[in-house]
C-alpha cells in the first residue's frame, strides 16, 4: 500500500495478523455479550475474521515457503505485525463498539484499495473478503446509530473514541488514513479528536497475554499432532 518496493508478504502479514488478533478479541464476547444477538454477532464476526486471516496467511505462506499455522502460531509476539488497536483486550461495550467501527471502517478502506491491486491474487482475495466485510460494517454502523440516538450513548461513545483515537490512527498508512478520516467524520456526531498515531510494531503487554493463550494448545502438543 505504501509503494511498490514493499514486499508482498509483509503486507499480507499485516492484514492477516490484524484479522487473527481482532478475531480472537471478538471471540472473547462469546457467552458474555450484553444480549444473545450480540453474542451470536460477535462470534460470527470472529469466525469470519479468522477465516480471512487463514486465507491471507496461506497466500503469504506460499511465498515464504511455510504454512498458515506456522505463521499464525509459531512466531514470537514481537514478530506479529498487527496494529495496536486490535490488540487491546476486551473492552467495555461502548469501547468495543468504538473499536469495531474504527477498525472495520479502516479495514474497508484498505480492502477497497487492494481490490484495485495489480496483483491478481491479492485483488481476487480482497474482493472475496469484502463481500463478507460489508456485513461487519453494517453491524458497526447500526450500533453507532443506536448509541448516537441518545445523549448518554453519544457521550459514552465519544469518550471511547477519544481514548482509542491514537490507536485507530495507527491502523492505516499515511496514504490511506485521510480516506478513512473522511468516512469516520461522516458518521460521528461529534468532532474528531486530535492525536498522534500509535503505529504497528509498538506491541503492548496485552498482545503477549493474548499470544500466551492463543498459542497454548499449539505449544503444548508436538508439531504434527492430529486430533
Amino acid at each position: 500500500m505504501s509503494g511498490p518496493e514493499r514486499p508482498r508478504s509483509e503486507l499480507l502479514l499485516e492484514l492477516a495478523d490484524d484479522e487473527l488478533v481482532l478475531g480472537w478479541r471478538n471471540s472473547e464476547w462469546t457467552g458474555v455479550a450484553p444480549f444473545l444477538e450480540e453474542d451470536v454477532a460477535f462470534s460470527s464476526i470472529a469466525q469470519n475474521e479468522i477465516g480471512h486471516a487463514r486465507a491471507l496467511y496461506e497466500l503469504a505462506a506460499a511465498e515464504l515457503g511455510t504454512t498458515a499455522d506456522e505463521l499464525a502460531f509459531d512466531r514470537d509476539p514481537d514478530e506479529y505485525r498487527s496494529a495496536p488497536l486490535v490488540e487491546l483486550r476486551r473492552l467495555e461495550w461502548a469501547r468495543t463498539i468504538a473499536r469495531h467501527f474504527l477498525y472495520e471502517t479502516a479495514d474497508g478502506v484498505r480492502i477497497d484499495a487492494l481490490k484495485r491491486s495489480a496483483d491478481v491474487e491479492i485483488a481476487g482475495l480482497a474482493a472475496k473478503i469484502d463481500r463478507e466485510e460489508i456485513y461487519h460494517r453494517m453491524h458497526a454502523e447500526m450500533w453507532l446509530d443506536r448509541l448516537q440516538d441518545t445523549h448518554d450513548g453519544t457521550s459514552r461513545l465519544r469518550e471511547a473514541v477519544e481514548e482509542l483515537w491514537p490507536y485507530a490512527l495507527g491502523v492505516l498508512d499515511d496514504e490511506l488514513r485521510p480516506v478513512w478520516l473522511e468516512h469516520v467524520r461522516a458518521r460521528l456526531a461529534f468532532p474528531l479528536p486530535e492525536g498522534e498515531p500509535v503505529t504497528r510494531g509498538q506491541h503492548s503487554a496485552e498482545l503477549r497475554e493474548l499470544w500466551e493463550e492463543m498459542t497454548s494448545v499449539r505449544r503444548s502438543a508436538p508439531a504434527g499432532a492430529s486430533w
Binding site: E37, A41, E132
Partner: protein
C-alpha cells in the same frame, strides 16, 4: 471411464454439510470440471472463508471422484467468483422448502442494511411479507435471522454475498 458428465452427477449427490437439503452443485461451489484421462480437476469456489464446512466439502468431492475411479485434484479458487447468485433455482426452491429464505439477487446491488430491514423477505413457512430482521448474524456465517409477524416464528435468511 470417467467422464465430465459422470463427475457432475456424482458431485450433485454430495449434500452441503451444514444445509444438507441442497447439494454442492445446487450451492454453486463447483465452478468447473475438467477430465483428462483418469485425472479429474475440479475448480472449487468456496462460500465464506471462515466456513468450517469447506474442508468437508473438498474431501467429499475428492472421495466421490476416487469412487468413480478418477484421480482427483480439487483446486480451491480464492477469489470472488462464488456469490449467492450461483445458487441454482432448484437450490433456492429446496432452501425455501426447508425453512430458509433464499438470498436476494446481487443484481439489486451491494447488500444494504436498509434492504435487510425492509419487508421484502417472504416467510418460508407462511409466505407472509410481514417479516423483520432480528440479527444480521446467525448460527453460521452464511445466515441472518428474521422474525415473521404473520406466523410468529423466527426463520433463517441466507445472506446475499
Amino acid at each position: 471411464m470417467v467422464t465430465s458428465e459422470r463427475v457432475w452427477e456424482a458431485l450433485a449427490e454430495i449434500p452441503d454439510p451444514e444445509i444438507p437439503v441442497i447439494s454442492l452443485v445446487d450451492l454453486g461451489v463447483v465452478r468447473d470440471v475438467d477430465v483428462a484421462g483418469e485425472h479429474v480437476r475440479v475448480e472449487f469456489t468456496p462460500t465464506f472463508l471462515g466456513c468450517p464446512a469447506l474442508e468437508v466439502m473438498r474431501d467429499a468431492m475428492a472421495r466421490k471422484i476416487l469412487e468413480l475411479g478418477g484421480e482427483p485434484e480439487i483446486q480451491v479458487i480464492m477469489d470472488d467468483s462464488w456469490s449467492t447468485d450461483r445458487i441454482t433455482p432448484e437450490g433456492r426452491r429446496k432452501l425455501r422448502e426447508s425453512g430458509f429464505a433464499p438470498p436476494s439477487p446481487r443484481s439489486a446491488g451491494t447488500p444494504k442494511l436498509v434492504q435487510l430491514q425492509s419487508k421484502a423477505f417472504r416467510c418460508p413457512y407462511c409466505g407472509s411479507l410481514e417479516t423483520r430482521l432480528e440479527n444480521i448474524f446467525g448460527p453460521t456465517p452464511c445466515r441472518s435471522l428474521r422474525w415473521c409477524e404473520g406466523c410468529r416464528q423466527s426463520f433463517e435468511q441466507f445472506k446475499t454475498i
